[in-house]
């Protein structure tokens, strides 16, 4: 979709009061969720506790982003939740009143009430029985909102801590619904392997394109790998054999796996565009450092292909989080090991081109942008035992303004200096959502 198309769509949506009525929200969220109207007011940062630092616990940190606020750019709340759980990703419920946050290690899921007082989230409920509920999946990762439901990807299992895993569905109230195991070579569960793909049964992200009834999942690695020392793992030839090489296409409504694509090198984040005729998604492979396009062809069949390298793949820069602009024209891609962010022009999704790059710090993981694309936020932590060691272990929130040609520093917070821990996933909040 071209920029002018997006503008027309946004204008129409404003008139209709449709899902695009907002003009200032983080992109890449579930399309079932309402958007923030106005400027994002808070950013919630799911933060890993560090042994010997502060209280050593994982915590949900709230930073004030309100323009003109005396505390803008400061931590205004920090809610410790007990233990170190390998805090990782989080996602809002479809009504955006609750933020679900997972622990990849302990399998605990923390549901925060973010609507009663958006400046001060409180712990509403903890699910301690994820593995038992779902009969084996370990490592709750992505929380993708469906109407009345939360679709959760897992990364591992309780048999061997390897990568075979499942999608797990809960109600918004936190009651277990169903487990959907990933297809494997031994049990394809009705799916078809495409282009020599070997269904590995691994999981990572989940995203959906509602109007096409398409859901995609990607594949990372099991508990043993994502929990272990990164350097040790790089030198462990057995461990390095155990990364995902697949993206699976599902029937969104029936949860039936349809196709298994061959996407070697651990495809991680998946992002669908917003455009009304944009029938594709992007993903990046962490180990092989490629940008992949999963797209519908002229015959109506979905396909997967690599469309660009990210940095120098032979140096394993390790692409991590990505953020697609709301107008679908540009894509931010972070690479952890070199601490770089890169902006790709993806106006032709089949031929992306890098148009900008900047070193954010010694390491960088997550990136979130405002709906208008003017404000870009970065955090640092990948996984507790994958983060850099010593002086390179910089832990931060850094806010920038994107002026169309470069990132201009706005503010930054040193999470170690503040005795908070490792800053990971960001989600935006606003009181305006709940004022009606």
């Amino acid at each position: 979709m071209k920029r002018r198309q997006f503008g027309a769509l946004a204008t129409a949506a404003l008139v209709m009061g449709g899902p695009l009525r907002a003009l200032a929200d983080e992109t890449c969220q579930s399309p079932y969720m309402p958007k923030i109207t106005g400027h994002e007011e808070y950013v919630y940062i799911w933060t890993l506790g560090v042994e010997g630092m502060g209280d050593g616990q994982d915590k949900m940190v709230t930073v004030d982003l309100r323009p003109g606020s005396e505390t803008r750019g400061q931590v205004i709340n920090s809610l410790s939740i007990g233990g170190r759980n390998e805090a990782h990703h989080a996602g809002f419920s479809a009504d955006r009143r609750y933020l679900w946050a997972g622990g990849l290690d302990t399998n605990r899921i923390f549901i925060f009430d973010v609507h009663s007082d958006p400046a001060n989230p409180v712990l509403h409920k903890t699910i301690d029985t994820f593995v038992k509920d779902a009969d084996g999946p370990v490592g709750p990762h992505t929380f993708f909102a469906l109407p009345g439901r939360m679709m959760i990807t897992a990364l591992s299992n309780d048999d061997d801590h390897g990568g075979r895993t499942a999608l797990v569905e809960y109600t918004d109230e936190g009651d277990f619904v169903e487990t959907h195991w990933m297809p494997t070579a031994e049990n394809m569960r009705g799916a078809e392997a495409v282009d020599g793909a070997v269904a590995d049964g691994f999981g990572y992200d989940v995203r959906a394109l509602i109007r096409k009834n398409v859901m995609l999942t990607s594949s990372f690695t099991g508990w043993s790998n994502y929990m272990m020392d990164f350097g040790q793992m790089l030198g462990d030839s057995e461990a390095m054999k155990r990364f995902g090489s697949t993206i699976v296409q599902w029937d969104l409504h029936t949860r039936q796996p349809k196709k298994v694509f061959n996407v070697p090198g651990a495809p991680l984040e998946i992002r669908f565009p917003w455009g009304p005729n944009a029938n594709y998604a992007f993903s990046t492979t962490a180990l092989t450092s490629q940008l992949w396009l999963i797209h519908e062809d002229d015959a109506g069949e979905w396909q997967a292909k690599a469309v660009a390298d990210i940095g120098d793949p032979t140096k394993i820069p390790l692409p991590v989080d990505i953020s697609l602009a709301a107008d679908d024209q540009t894509l931010w891609i972070n690479t952890f090991l070199d601490g770089m962010t890169r902006l790709f022009d993806v106006s032709d999704p089949h031929h992306p081109k890098q148009i900008y790059e900047k070193k954010i710090a010694s390491q960088v993981n997550m990136v979130s942008q405002s709906w208008d694309g003017n404000r870009i936020y970065f955090t640092s932590s990948l996984l507790a035992n994958w983060d850099k060691k010593g002086a390179d272990d910089q832990q931060y929130l850094k806010a920038f303004t994107w002026n169309g040609s470069e990132l201009v520093p706005d503010f930054e917070l040193d999470f170690y200096e503040l005795q908070l821990g490792r800053a990971h996933l960001m989600r935006f909040g606003s009181s305006e959502l709940y004022s009606a």
Partner: protein
């Protein structure tokens, strides 16, 4: 739900033909024909631990811990209970994975609570009931006591004390009847050990092709190559001087500690790492990465002095217990740190005679094995796989792991 419909890990036979296959396909049984008749699984396991299997000695049960089906039932549950770790993530079975030969094919060295590094490879626990010394360094002598250290080691299950674990069990209604049935008494540390010991002594299996050939009189059980490999094992390669074969049975270990030079060699590599590391990023795709990049995300690697860490005798530096070789084809990767990926690599290490090291056992010397001889020796090691491994794994999965 049946055991096999739940399993995320495929059975041994299935794993061996996947893209991540760790070794050559070895003889395996069909899990669908595992014994199911005459009583419960624990009664069959009890009978197995009291019987003598072809090629194995009789299981030596401690006088003060005679096995019962009730102890075995309890021991299996404890073995798979992830709540036995401080945060509910680790059980014995997370490192000793039934479908992976009760070892772990997916890691060179184990990973404990919060991802903490263990410096050694998880050994198989199949047939450990026959051993007089346990662990690579022989730090314990009894299955009744060896479990305590993993329970409280910070880089394994990380419990702050064994008392906390016992208290937890005492508070769990599901465990009360199991301890009552096994001991007529509530949970305690020694009763945990007895139950775990009784269970692990059921994880025995002999009857390999070698056993049928050597002890069973079946002259067709080994191929010509395997027969030649046996001769090499006994004479030219002299493996059997440490991996002992007796007239009536064979554990393939002298249960002694030796310095093969391997541990010393690994220490030299630790102190003087190569400037690059070869990293696999996808099937058949590798990149050489600068050491500095790897070091930037690495905790300092730990030294491993082997038996010395138990005795503090300088003469014991880099000595490790001779591993038993039964089912060795089913337990890659190899050596105490898992750094050798397959049997071929191990044979080549010994064929080259190990590094030039003053404390090295004199039996470790260049063997001058030629290509066909290496093939034959490897073929012989393949003949040490017992046909009952899949059934042991299936039996172990009779119930799902316990979780919070």
């Amino acid at each position: 739900m049946s055991v096999f419909s739940r399993l995320k890990t495929p059975t041994l036979a299935l794993i061996m033909v996947t893209v991540w296959s760790p070794g050559l396909l070895a003889e395996q049984s069909d899990p669908s024909v595992c014994p199911t008749s005459d009583g419960s699984w624990s009664e069959r396991a009890l009978e197995r631990s009291l019987s003598t299997q072809l090629g194995l000695p009789t299981v030596p049960h401690p006088v003060d811990n005679p096995p019962t089906a009730e102890k075995i039932t309890l021991g299996r549950k404890l073995f798979f209970d992830r709540r036995m770790s401080i945060n509910g993530t680790m059980s014995c079975a997370m490192c000793h994975v039934p479908e992976q030969g009760f070892a772990n094919w997916e890691l060179q060295t184990s990973v404990g609570v919060e991802g903490r590094s263990v410096k050694r490879n998880a050994p198989t626990i199949i047939n450990t009931g026959f051993l007089d010394v346990l662990f690579h360094d022989g730090r314990d002598m009894s299955l009744e006591t060896q479990f305590i250290m993993p329970l409280i080691s910070r880089n394994e299950m990380a419990n702050p004390s064994v008392g906390r674990v016992v208290a937890y069990l005492q508070g769990q209604p599901e465990y009360q009847p199991l301890f009552d049935a096994a001991f007529g008494a509530p949970p305690s540390l020694d009763r945990m050990g007895k139950a775990l010991g009784a269970y692990q002594r059921t994880l025995t299996t002999g009857g390999s092709a070698f056993d049928r050939w050597y002890y069973g009189g079946d002259k067709t059980a080994l191929s010509d190559s395997q027969t030649r490999g046996f001769e090499l094992f006994q004479v030219k390669a002299d493996c059997a001087s440490c991996h002992v074969i007796s007239d009536q049975s064979a554990l393939f270990t002298d249960q002694e500690f030796h310095n093969t030079g391997y541990g010393w060699q690994r220490e030299q590599i630790r102190q003087n790492p190569s400037p690059t590391t070869r990293v696999q990023v996808a099937p058949n795709v590798f990149h050489e990465i600068d050491r500095a990049v790897v070091a930037s995300v690495s905790a300092p690697p730990q030294a491993d002095l082997g038996r010395y860490e138990v005795t503090e005798d300088p003469d014991d530096r880099w000595m490790f217990r001779t591993p038993a070789l039964r089912n060795v084809a089913m337990t890659p990767p190899y050596m105490h740190d898992g750094a050798l990926p397959d049997l071929r690599s191990v044979i080549e290490f010994y064929n080259q005679g190990g590094p030039d090291h003053v404390f090295k056992d004199p039996r470790i010397r260049p063997l001058d094995l030629k290509g066909q001889e290496i093939d034959d020796l490897e073929a012989f090691l393949q003949a040490l796989t017992s046909p009952g491994l899949d059934c042991l794994a299936a039996e172990a999965r009779i119930n799902a792991p316990d979780n919070f």
